[in-house]
């Protein structure tokens, strides 16, 4: 049998646990009070009975049976709260306020007993508990002295009853409170549980509502949402990376296979030169491997979402270093190379990846700028606070419509088909930018100037390190 939902919630269970603890503590407390007060009342009554007994036996020893008898009659008539019974040695009643002794087997030793006395109050018989002591007098007669403990006992019983009542009230209120709290908490949990169940069912787009109360449930919901965002991105990245690698390697491998097959047939027919075919195949293999590592780098960056081992460094300094690698290449191609590097703008990034991104941008610029053209490298701080490294060239540029496309992998525009490269350069730059919370921007260069231009401006924009 399943309990209603509300009784299965954690807050309700906690409430029950606390109630149980409280009830146990309260019972122990009650037991202690009962034992302490009830025992105390009995002890007090007993000592009063004993005192009365001493006074009566004293009178007997001094003045004999008649004096005691007289005294009993006087005492019974007074307001004293005691019950008396004087009996002959064989147990017959001589005098007293009760008819017979409540002590059933009297051996002669002083005997204590607890018994009931009846009282008629307003037509109703009320029974009280009572205590009594029976002793044999020195002359053989038997004397019983008792006292009604009803009032003391009744007080204790009332206290205990009140405590039980209070305990019951606490338990009822506690249960009600538990139900209320669990309902409240449940309402917050239900939305989260719903999200978890949706995600388990394969819906990665499910998100928990954030109520804006900034309590721990909101924090949990926000945390869960952020986790799901990352998970979704990462899963998409992995799926995409797998597809892309398979796709990206298939074409170069197909080319390599075709070339090897052709070479094999040529050699078999005794026509071709095997050395040349092998050298060609080796070169092709290197090409495939290069493509593979580039694709893998991009895929890993995209899947990870962030670049590993970031350090804080001056972007201008790194850009200057990379430029130094390419400067002689420009000179050889008769391209004017200039740079404006504003120092002191730090970025927090993976040096290796940023260096490679800058190298790829410069490489493209050198590749597509004809002799007589110019390349300008700039590092500056934008008014937005971001740091930008840009390369402007006077090559043919990229038409507006193609600018988002050239960043995609393996996209090479018509006029670049005769240039070496696999078409992964800018894709890697874009992946690097994204992994650093930055972006890659493509704009028109300085414009048309005779044979040159309109050129291309490629900018790697990164957040400034704080």
């Amino acid at each position: 049998m399943r309990l209603p939902r509300i009784f299965r919630t954690t807050p309700f269970r906690l409430t029950l646990l606390f109630l149980a603890l409280f009830a146990a503590a309260a019972s122990a407390f009650l037991a202690y009070i009962y034992i302490a007060t009830a025992g105390e009342a009995t002890r007090r009554t007993d000592s009063e009975i004993q005192r009365e007994m001493r006074s009566l036996t004293g009178a007997y020893d001094r003045a004999g049976l008649n004096a005691v008898n007289q005294s009993l009659i006087e005492r019974a008539a007074s307001e004293r709260p005691f019950l008396y019974l004087l009996m002959s040695p064989d147990g017959r009643r001589i005098s007293g306020s009760i008819e017979e002794s409540p002590v059933e087997h009297f051996e002669g030793e002083p005997a204590w007993t607890t018994f009931q006395v009846s009282d008629v109050v307003g037509g109703r018989t009320v029974r009280h508990p009572a205590r009594g002591l029976q002793e044999r007098l020195s002359g053989g007669e038997i004397l019983f002295v008792g006292a009604d403990v009803g009032e003391d006992q009744a007080y204790v019983v009332n206290v205990v009853r009140a405590l039980w009542g209070a305990g019951a009230l606490v338990i009822i209120l506690g249960l009600a409170g538990g139900v209320l709290v669990s309902r409240n908490v449940s309402r917050s949990m239900v939305s989260l549980t719903g999200v978890v169940e949706a995600v388990r069912g394969g819906d990665l787009a499910a998100r928990a509502p954030v109520r804006g109360t900034r309590d721990e449930f909101d924090e949990l919901a926000a945390g869960v949402n952020e986790m799901l965002d990352r998970l979704e991105r990462s899963m998409a990245g992995h799926r995409h990376a797998g597809d892309a690698i398979a796709h990206d390697l298939r074409s170069p491998l197909t080319r390599l296979r075709a070339r090897l097959e052709a070479a094999y047939l040529e050699v078999e027919a005794g026509r071709g030169d095997p050395t040349q075919a092998l050298a060609q195949a080796l070169e092709d293999t290197d090409g495939v491997l290069k493509t593979f590592s580039a694709v893998l780098s991009i895929a890993r960056l995209q899947a990870a979402g962030t670049a590993p081992d970031p350090v804080v460094f001056d972007l201008a300094e790194l850009a200057g270093d990379v430029a130094e690698l390419y400067e002689p290449l420009c000179e050889d191609k008769e391209i004017e190379f200039g740079s404006e590097l504003a120092r002191g703008h730090a970025v927090r990034a993976n040096r290796e990846f940023i260096a490679q991104a800058l190298a790829n941008i410069l490489d493209n610029a050198v590749k597509y700028t004809p002799a007589g053209g110019a390349i300008m490298l700039r590092v500056r701080r934008r008014s937005s606070g971001e740091v930008e490294a840009s390369v402007t060239d006077t090559g043919p540029g990229v038409p507006d419509a193609d600018r988002t496309r050239v960043v995609e992998r393996f996209v090479r525009l018509e006029n670049s088909r005769n240039q070496p490269g696999a078409g992964l350069g800018l894709s890697l730059v874009a992946a690097v930018a994204e992994a650093h919370a930055g972006r890659l921007e493509l704009d028109e260069g300085p414009g048309k100037l005779g044979e040159l231009g309109p050129g291309l401006r490629v900018a790697l924009v990164l957040p400034r390190a704080v």
């Binding site: 290197d286 491997l289 290069k290 590592s293 890993r300 590993p308 081992d309 270093d321 130094e324 690698l325 390419y326 002689p328 290449l329 050889d332 993976n350 290796e352 990846f353 260096a355 490679q356 190298a359 790829n360 490489d363 050198v366 590749k367 070496p420 490269g421 350069g425």
Partner: protein, 223 residues
Amino acid sequence: MRILIVEDDLEAAEAMERGLSDAGYACVRAADGALGLEAARAGVFDVMIVDRMMPRLDGVALVESLRREGNATPVLFLSALGEVGDRVAGLQAGADDYLVKPYAFAELIARVEALARRRETGSVHTLLRVGDLEMDLIGRVVRRQGKDIDLQPREFQLLEFLMRHAGQSVTRTMLLEKVWEYHFDPQTNVIDVHVSRLRSKIDKGFDKPMLQTVRGAGYRLDA
């Protein structure tokens, strides 16, 4: 020269042994990390080639153990893991160089050679001399046949590396890694341009060219 090859891929190890033997090295093979550690403890080697991922004891643990025992034999790490972090971890473990699989054989030979020779020229020199070419490391001056040669700072570093490895082939990747400290592969062969510039400065006007291009491998500075 004795080389210890610690590689669990039998075919790769055999190919390596064949190539290195052809190049004049004596090779010993170990098929996993634990055997490799035993062999390294038992024998004296000039260079160890250690695969990164192996059964029983991986390359990193092997090199760490050796270094703890005070064994300073130069180690070339081979690994299929080429990411920045992997390389740094390998070098931190105590490896001296790191080569990512797959590699060209010329690259492996050049790196083994560089590691093997490093021991001989380990002492600190302030003056490097190769044939009639002189480099004063303190005064930052280069002379050939007594004539001063004016070099840019990077050209100076490039020449220093070539002189320290005179007579050995050095690959473009090695130059990019050791002189420029970049570990990526530039699309255009920028290194060639830098080398040809340096060549025009140290060889032009002298009858014997020193800076040779080694086909399929890279460059070599000959006396």
